[in-house]
């Protein structure tokens, strides 16, 4: 038997999950979404050094190598229909936490309004991982290279969580505190994500750099969002999120502030990309060196800004 012993609870509604989390508050409980990370983390390791999985984790951190303490209870979220689906209304786009990554890649709504997220979803793992993995799970795991987390930060997403104490909303950019660490309290869980729906004059893009095209964790990744002024020349708002260059997704605030209010041009994007590299705090690990990452943040940021601009202009 590869997996340790645990008891599985399969609630049908969000309120049942809240009740179970409150009831089991003194036990070792884990939420089971797609299982593509959780079952890997809790299975007994054959080799002690089996799979260091976390890009951006300091090598001395005990986070990636030591198998997680096996949970006594797993609360499976896969039978809760309230947590599934992608919805759009007048002003917002809402994505249920248990929406699979494949559903994101196939959704017209995501493709139309949240281009960066569609690209991130499409580059995550492999088709088999995408079929099981969920956006809620990918974000709750809070890996600094997570392919839906970086776009969600760039797109200024809001993470909605529930618990027996009520609901609260957390901005995606302040959700992670470290690799695998989040601001979630022990009884809280993600129910859905909300994104603002812009009318037009906006575009977003995401790109990751990796050694392979599939089953790969980013060496670095960048997501960007641009909102243009009415004449399409000025940048009303810019957001740039960097992946795998720090313990959490990083907002390139210097680059964002620099872009805001300027007219878009090649030279402006070049300068912003240089600033983004200064915002990055990468380390050297088995995926790449610090120096290479810094160089590549600049290159990929420029590409992603160009892509986002192209999408913004094309929309009009």
């Amino acid at each position: 038997m590869v997996l340790p012993r645990f008891e599985v609870i399969e609630p049908k509604t969000i309120s049942e999950v809240c009740i179970e989390l409150a009831r089991l508050k003194n036990s070792n409980v884990r939420l089971l979404a797609g299982g593509t990370d959780l079952f890997v983390d809790i299975r007994k390791k054959i080799l002690p050094e089996h799979l260091p999985r976390c890009s951006g984790c300091p090598p001395e951190s005990n986070d990636p190598q030591v198998p997680m303490k096996p949970p006594e209870f797993l609360i499976s979220l896969s039978r809760i229909n309230e947590l599934k689906g992608i919805y759009v209304d007048e002003s917002t786009i809402s994505i249920g936490a248990m929406t699979t990554i494949t559903e994101l890649t196939e959704s017209d709504i995501i493709g139309k309004y949240l281009g960066a997220l569609a690209q991130g979803a499409d580059s995550l793992g492999s088709p088999l991982v995408r079929n099981r993995g969920t956006i809620g799970g990918n974000i709750a795991n809070a890996r600094p290279a997570a392919d839906t987390f970086i776009p969600a930060v760039a797109l200024e997403g809001t993470i909605c969580v529930s618990s027996s104490d009520g609901n609260r909303e957390i901005p995606a950019d302040s959700f992670a505190e470290g690799p695998g660490q989040t601001v979630l309290k022990k009884n809280e869980f993600i129910t859905h994500l909300i994104f603002e729906k812009y009318r037009n004059k906006y575009g977003s893009a995401y790109q990751k750099l990796a050694n392979r095209k599939a089953l790969e964790i980013s060496t670095i990744s960048v997501g960007a969002f641009l909102l243009l002024s009415d004449d399409l020349k000025g940048i009303e708002k810019a957001r740039i999120a960097l992946g795998a260059v720090g313990p959490t997704p990083i907002l390139a605030t210097n680059a964002m502030n620099y872009l805001q209010g300027k007219e878009h041009a090649e030279s402006i994007f070049n300068e912003a990309s240089k600033l983004a590299a200064k915002d990055a705090k990468p380390i050297t690990d088995h995926r790449s060196s610090r120096e290479y990452r810094l160089e590549m943040v600049e290159v990929i940021t420029k590409r992603v800004l160009d892509f986002a601009l192209k999408r913004a202009l094309k929309r009009n």
């Binding site: 645990f6 399969e10 890997v40 088709p127 089953l215």
Partner: protein, 158 residues
């Protein structure tokens, strides 16, 4: 504690008592004796344990058996028509796409899901759909050729 589940595999319902922590792949292989589904890395990298869960290619090594209760599972044993091989199976043989054979069941099931969704895939579509199924023998070209050929036969058969 064991739980009672009904697992629908290849169109047949199986009433089973399983421990919470048993993986779908283990139940398929050890309880149902359907050993065409292989067990490889166990961590969702290699794809040899692929089965179709409600038509979707799924790692059976990362799904608990109790999670699969209520879903329709198809394994490699379920795609031929009696002794008549499925066009994909025949195409894999004809094109030399089976060498050691360990990846083959996963490859065929991922290909089948692709062809059900997209009957006329390009080579790029096939390579992308199979990017989660690793093969260390063939270099993939023969597999891609086989899927392209099977797609043509399946289109002709309607």
């Amino acid at each position: 504690m064991k739980k009672h589940i009904t697992l629908n595999v290849n169109g047949k319902d199986h009433e089973l008592l399983v421990e919470d922590n048993r993986l779908l792949v283990d139940v398929i292989r050890e309880d149902l004796h359907l050993t065409g589904t292989k067990k490889g890395c166990g961590i969702g990298d290699c794809g040899v344990c692929t089965v179709l869960m409600d038509g979707v290619p799924t790692f059976s090594c990362l799904v608990l058996a109790i999670q699969a209760s209520g879903s329709e599972i198809v394994t490699i044993e379920g795609i031929s028509d009696g002794n008549d091989l499925h066009p994909l199976q025949q195409a894999f043989i004809d094109h030399g796409a089976v060498q050691c054979g360990f990846c083959t069941s996963g490859m065929i099931l991922s290909s089948l899901a692709l062809l059900n969704k997209n009957p006329s895939p390009t080579e790029k579509d096939i390579r992308k759909a199979l990017s989660g199924n690793l093969c260390r023998c063939t270099g993939y070209q023969k597999i891609v050729d086989a899927v392209l050929a099977a797609a043509e036969i399946m289109r002709a058969e309607g």
